[in-house]
Each structure stands twice: as structure tokens, then as C-alpha cells.
């Protein structure tokens, strides 16, 4: 399988009606693909929005903010690669490219960025986002593997279900609303971890931080086996938990453990020095 050559986009044409300034250029790209394609976008500066569109095609609209950046595209059968190629002299302003992309719902998507918001919506394939300062938003996605890696960007997951979610963050806050599935793991350094959901799906939920606070809000009917422990920070639970069979050996720091309901899901809240609070949703 030979990769096609990367094509360099022309940067001087301007389409009528796009009034962004004389140097902003719009590129429209359209790819035909088969089932389960892979779409990979590497865009140092600028937002990337990926939404589910029609099957078997990938539609891209890219706005290049100057002629200091070029769009390299390549397609190898079912695999599409887009790279915003920075020319000498490009910086975080002149190097900006804004992407709006439609992919088949079953596409596997990989996004890389330094800055800009990465947004994925209504996808069912595997999703990987890696960013330095880019904010990340994953909305209404299900079934796939969601792997997010960020240094300083905030991460927001909303209504992400039935898949395998792994987030690693240094500084960025990780906020999850309506996230459930067989496996949800967040590994944070100083970023805050916030969860508002039902811990459903008989899943394994692991939220671990160095100094970031962990706040999890669950409904009264949650069915969980929970263990929370902070080496140097306080832990608090709004629930009265059923004690577990095995004796809990208390080590350094503060902890609580127990079960709710049928203990269908396993919840681990660990922090070195952050505060841990398991809240009960009132409604």
C-alpha cells in the first residue's frame, strides 16, 4: 500500500464571499472513503471541529490565516492525513488554520494541536486527541475508544457512553458530564477532575490526581463499589456507604470505602494531596 504523495495547497486563491481579510484562504477538500476510515489532522495552531456526516466521505473546510502556512493532504486508501505545514516565520497567529470536518460516524479520528479548541461530536469510532494548550471537547460520542492527552488545555466530555475513555492531563481540568461506560480513567497532575454522572455501565472508573481536587457527583441510586483515598488531602462523602466484606487496612492519609446498591461499578478516587468529595445529586 503506497502512500500518495502529499499535495501542497495553493495559498493565493481567494473564494468570493469569504471576507476574512485579504490573506485568509479557504480550502475545500472532499475525500471518498470506505468503511471505518482513519482521519488524522495535525494542526499546531487553530481549532479543529469534527462532526459526524454522511458515510463514505470526508469533507473538509479549512481557513488558512496567512500564507505562512500550507495545508498538506494525503490519502492512502482509507486513511486520510491532513497537516498544517508551518513555513519559516510562521507563529501562533499567522500559522492558524481553522478546520471544520465531517467524517463518517464510524471513522477513527486523531487530532494533534498546540492551541485551539479540539471538538468532536457524534462519533462512534476511536478518537484520539493530543494537545499542549488546546482545549478539548467531546460531545455525544459512543462506543469507541476515547484517548485524550493534554498538558495545559481543559477537557470537557459530555454524554460520552459505552466506550473506553482515557484522559491524561498535567494542568488541564477534566470535566465529565454524563460519561459512563466499561472503562473511564482520568490521570491528572494538578488539573481538577470533576464528574457528574451515574457511574453506570458496570464499569471501572479510576480518577487519580497528584494535587488536583477530585469531585464526583452521583445519583442516590448509584450502584458502585467505591474506594477514595488522599495521602495528604481531606476526603468526604455525602453517601452513607455499606461496609465491604474485606477489612480495609488504613494507611497514611484519609480514606473511605464501601458500596452502594448492587456495587455494579468500581470507582477509585485517588489523590496525593488533592481534596476528594463524593457528592450526592439532589433531585
Amino acid at each position: 500500500m503506497r502512500t500518495q504523495r502529499a499535495l501542497r495547497a495553493a495559498t493565493v486563491l481567494m473564494f468570493a464571499g469569504m471576507a476574512f481579510g485579504t490573506s485568509t484562504v479557504r480550502k475545500d477538500l472532499h475525500f471518498r472513503v470506505g468503511k471505518h476510515p482513519t482521519v488524522s489532522i495535525n494542526n499546531p495552531y487553530g481549532p479543529i471541529t469534527v462532526r459526524a456526516g454522511a458515510p463514505q466521505q470526508v469533507v473538509v473546510v479549512a481557513m488558512l490565516h496567512s500564507d505562512r502556512v500550507e495545508l498538506d493532504q494525503s490519502q492512502s486508501r482509507n486513511r486520510i492525513n491532513l497537516v498544517s505545514h508551518l513555513l519559516p516565520g510562521a507563529d501562533s497567529i499567522s500559522g492558524v488554520v481553522e478546520y471544520e470536518v465531517l467524517v463518517p460516524p464510524d471513522a477513527d479520528v486523531t487530532l494533534h494541536a498546540d492551541t485551539g479548541t479540539l471538538h468532536a461530536e457524534k462519533l462512534h469510532g476511536d478518537l484520539t486527541m493530543e494537545g499542549v494548550n488546546a482545549a478539548m471537547e467531546v460531545v455525544d460520542c459512543a462506543d469507541g475508544h476515547v484517548h485524550l492527552k493534554t498538558l495545559n488545555g481543559n477537557v470537557n466530555l459530555t454524554n460520552v457512553r459505552n466506550g473506553h475513555v482515557e484522559v491524561v492531563s498535567m494542568n488541564g481540568d477534566v470535566v465529565m458530564t454524563g460519561v459512563s461506560g466499561p472503562y473511564v480513567s482520568v490521570n491528572s497532575n494538578s488539573g481538577r477532575i470533576q464528574y457528574d454522572g451515574d457511574f453506570g455501565g458496570e464499569g471501572e472508573y479510576n480518577f487519580i490526581s497528584h494535587t488536583g481536587n477530585i469531585e464526583a457527583m452521583a445519583p442516590p441510586y448509584a450502584s458502585i463499589d467505591v474506594l477514595a483515598r488522599s495521602n495528604q488531602g481531606p476526603v468526604e462523602s455525602d453517601f452513607s456507604l455499606e461496609p465491604k466484606h474485606a477489612p480495609f487496612i488504613s494507611r497514611t492519609g484519609s480514606a473511605f470505602t464501601g458500596t452502594l446498591g448492587k456495587a455494579a461499578s468500581s470507582v477509585r478516587l485517588f489523590s496525593f494531596s488533592g481534596k476528594i468529595h463524593l457528592k450526592k445529586r439532589q433531585n
Partner: protein
């Protein structure tokens, strides 16, 4: 005759690396990471494909593959080489998948009901009316698609018998049904596949 399971795609590689696999097993017992990786690479396709076929989605298949290998590696200290390593591993993988299906409340293999309505079209009722044969060979992708469309209970039995090569008595033991049930469900699964293949081909033809 049917080739026995374990003598399929990975077999030639297995034969050539037989000594190395044995070495790898010994080293894995000592906790050698490279040895684990070797064993994993040797068998990952077979295990993953099985899990994918039985569950129908990549996320579950990956989790189950991981679980199967984990269980295998936990127990590798007890492997004495009485049976082929691959047999041992694949059986473990099947058990992991079946347990998962049970946990989810999905039917593993439906029990034969005498009054169960047969939804599949089998042979046409009028003797003499020639049923169209599935022309030529069956493309792997179209068969894959049809298998994915099978109801879960039929899919399990078809995958275990026709794809993975287990015998009915083995399937009955793993799944917890009678041998007769295993045979009849397999037959229904094949009939259903024939129907699905026909329908899919007809749809494709109409699109042209």
C-alpha cells in the same frame, strides 16, 4: 476432512517458532517482558478476531482480548505443556468472551424450542422449484458482514464451530447446552447466513 483447530493461519508460524515459543513460555514464567510480548504477538490476531466476531464491536473486543491474555499470563506458571499452548490460550479466550456475554444477559446459545417459529426461509415448499444457488465463492468481507448481522446466539455457535473449529461436544461443554442443541443451532445459523448473503447480494445488485 476438516482441519483441526490450531492448524490454521498461525500454525505455520507456530511450527517454525515451536522451539522459540517453548522458550518464551519458560521465560514468561520468570517474568520476562519480552517473552510476554512474543507470546502476545503470536496469538493476538486469533484471540482478537474471535472476540470481535463474538461481540461485534472493537471496544469490547479489545477489552476482552486484554482480559484473556491477562488471565493466561496469570496462570502461565501452571502450564505444563500437556496440550498445545495455543489450544489452552484460545479456550481461555472463549471462556472470557462467553462469561462477558452472560454477564450482559445476552443469549449465549438459544435453547431449542419445539414450537419456536422458524423465521428463516429454508427450502421452497414446492418440490421442483430450483432455489438459486449462491453463485461462485463467497467473498470474505461479505461473509464477515453477514456474520456480524447474525443474532448473537447464532453467531456464537457459528463462530465457535465453523470459524474456530471447535467440535460440538466441546462447544456443549463450554457453552452449557446439549450437543443436539449445538448442532441444531449451528444449522439454523448457516441457514440464516445463506439468507443474509442472498439479501445483501440482491441489495448490491439493485444499487448498480
Amino acid at each position: 476432512m476438516r482441519p483441526k483447530k490450531g492448524n490454521l493461519t498461525d500454525a505455520t508460524k507456530l511450527q517454525g517458532d515451536k522451539l522459540t515459543e517453548r522458550e518464551a513460555i519458560e521465560r514468561a514464567k520468570q517474568g520476562d517482558a519480552e517473552a510476554f510480548k512474543f507470546l502476545y504477538d503470536l496469538h493476538k490476531r486469533r484471540v482478537y478476531s474471535l472476540c470481535l466476531r463474538m461481540t461485534g464491536n472493537t471496544a469490547s473486543a479489545e477489552d476482552l482480548t486484554q482480559e484473556a491474555f491477562l488471565q493466561l499470563f496469570r496462570k502461565i506458571g501452571t502450564f505444563r505443556g500437556e496440550s498445545a499452548f495455543s489450544t489452552w490460550l484460545h479456550r481461555m479466550a472463549v471462556n472470557v468472551v462467553l462469561m462477558q456475554l452472560r454477564k450482559k444477559g445476552l443469549p449465549v446459545v438459544p435453547i431449542d424450542e419445539p414450537t419456536e417459529p422458524d423465521e428463516e426461509v429454508t427450502v421452497t415448499k414446492e418440490p421442483g422449484a430450483a432455489d438459486e444457488r449462491l453463485a461462485g465463492s463467497i467473498d470474505r468481507l461479505e461473509l464477515q458482514r453477514a456474520v456480524d448481522e447474525l443474532p448473537p446466539g447464532y453467531r456464537t455457535i457459528f463462530v465457535l464451530h465453523d470459524v474456530e473449529g471447535y467440535e460440538h461436544n466441546e462447544i456443549a461443554g463450554m457453552v452449557g447446552c446439549s450437543i443436539g442443541n449445538s448442532k441444531s443451532q449451528l444449522h439454523k445459523a448457516r441457514l440464516k447466513l445463506r439468507e443474509l448473503l442472498r439479501v445483501n447480494r440482491a441489495e448490491k445488485a439493485m444499487k448498480r
